[in-house]
């Protein structure tokens, strides 16, 4: 999940009787699966929660370009380099679709980006891990984008129209990401040297648990889920989504001929799902708080990009102004 622990500002759900007429109207619309649009009335908490969630989602797409950017100049072939650049360009695009959706709620893009740079806004914990070998590009595409797809497919039905529509567009593009990632790993496992095969297993060992953490804390540790589900911003719980991801990923893992670093992972015939071990939650909260291996580096790279791009943005405005004056003179 690209948005983790989004605060809704509510501790307890209101009943329909406790709601104001406007709130009740709104909730009934949501319950009837009528999409909420930008100009419709909405509770303040709903608006704020969405701004938090969509901006966090957008920041994740933007910061998510950085671990991959690390490998553009190191990709093994021209083909892989082009694919990687296309994927990174998509991530930038996804970030922009989401910032657009967020702006329909009256939020300012600059202010939200500033919150990210000040450490007040979060982005997905997964992007605070380093990408150490080429197989990481495969594992990121397959596992990280794979986990994102599980989450985002459900979000296509989220109650806020502009967010849902951005998700439809994003989901169409994500499957390319996941397939190109899996193919990198498949090629390495089929045609690679022993050293290259070891790289694949090493990448999976490092990224497996962080990928599972993307879905956020257990349902009973997730204080905001209830309100988010009632508003239908969130459609499925963290644990449900995590289980879906594991169930669909393990057969793909076995086909690769690899393993995951979880001794407790095994198929449970009775449940019809895979059982799996406990996530290291301390690590999850540490990374989310800013103490992951790359938090500092990611934010300083983003700040640097914005700061050093200032002159380009200023030049664009100056040029537009000049063109306008020229056109006025000619007229």
């Amino acid at each position: 999940m690209y948005a983790q622990m989004v605060d809704t500002g509510t501790k307890r759900l209101k009943t329909l009787e406790e709601m104001s007429p406007e709130e009740r109207d709104f909730q009934e619309k949501v319950d009837a699966e009528t999409k909420i649009e930008a100009k419709n009335w909405m509770p303040d908490g709903y608006r704020k929660t969405l701004i938090r969630q969509i901006s966090q989602h957008a920041h994740s797409e933007i910061v998510g370009m950085l671990p991959e950017g690390n490998w553009v100049t190191r990709a093994p072939t021209l083909k892989r380099k082009l694919q990687l650049m296309a994927k990174i360009q998509d991530e930038a695009g996804h970030g922009l679709y989401l910032y657009s959706a967020m702006e329909t709620l009256g939020a300012s893009r600059d202010e939200e980006v500033q919150k990210l740079h000040d450490g007040k806004a979060k982005y997905s914990s997964i992007f605070n891990y380093p990408t150490l070998n080429w197989a990481d590009m495969g594992a990121v595409g397959w596992l990280v984008d794979g986990a994102a797809i599980v989450n985002q497919v459900v979000l296509q039905r989220t109650s806020y129209g502009p967010y849902a529509r951005a998700m439809v567009r994003i989901c169409k593009e994500e499957s390319f990401h996941q397939r190109q990632g899996y193919q990198i790993l498949l090629d390495m496992m089929r045609e690679g040297t022993q050293e290259q095969k070891d790289m694949v297993q090493d990448a999976i060992n490092r990224l497996w648990w962080p990928a599972l953490m993307m879905f956020g804390p257990h349902d009973d540790e997730s204080p905001n889920s209830q309100q988010s589900m009632a508003w239908k911003i969130k459609r499925k719980s963290n644990d449900e989504l995590r289980q879906m991801f594991i169930d669909q990923t393990i057969p793909q893992l076995e086909y690769l001929g690899c393993t995951v670093p979880d001794p407790d992972l095994k198929w449970n015939e009775e449940r019809g799902h895979y059982d799996f071990g406990e996530i290291n939650w301390k690590e999850f909260y540490d990374v989310l708080k800013g103490d992951g291996p790359c938090n500092h580096e990611r934010i300083s790279t983003r700040k640097k990009a914005i700061d050093e791009g200032t002159w380009v943005r200023e030049a664009a405005v100056a040029y537009a102004e000049k063109q306008k004056q020229r056109a006025a003179k000619a007229a």
């Binding site: 649009e37 360009q89 893009r109 529509r165 943005r313 664009a316």
Partner: protein, 93 residues
């Protein structure tokens, strides 16, 4: 970026179809809006034509005007072809 104007983007996906709203972009001027719209919304041959329109120039109906605007058409059933029953002998019309 917010100091740049906001534009709404409309894309014609195929010849013969109409332009459809797809999202928005920020840009310093019209040309840049067009470039940004192309890069952002048509990376996989999604379109054959793009319109970019400054968002502030769009006049939209408000949601609380819904009844005023659209209810009057609800009670005019005679505007629909199905209102006029024809004998079977007449056949398709």
């Amino acid at each position: 970026m917010s100091e740049w104007r906001l534009y709404e983007v409309f894309v014609r996906s195929k010849h013969g179809l109409n332009h459809k709203h797809v999202g928005s972009v920020h840009a310093a001027d019209n040309e840049m809006a067009m470039q940004n719209a192309r890069d952002l919304y048509t990376r996989r041959s999604e379109g054959v034509s793009i319109w970019v329109v400054p968002s502030e120039t769009i006049t939209a109906s408000a949601s609380d005007e819904k009844e005023v605007l659209f209810d009057p058409s609800e009670d005019k059933v005679y505007r629909h072809a199905s209102f006029y029953k024809l004998p079977d002998e007449v056949g398709q019309m």
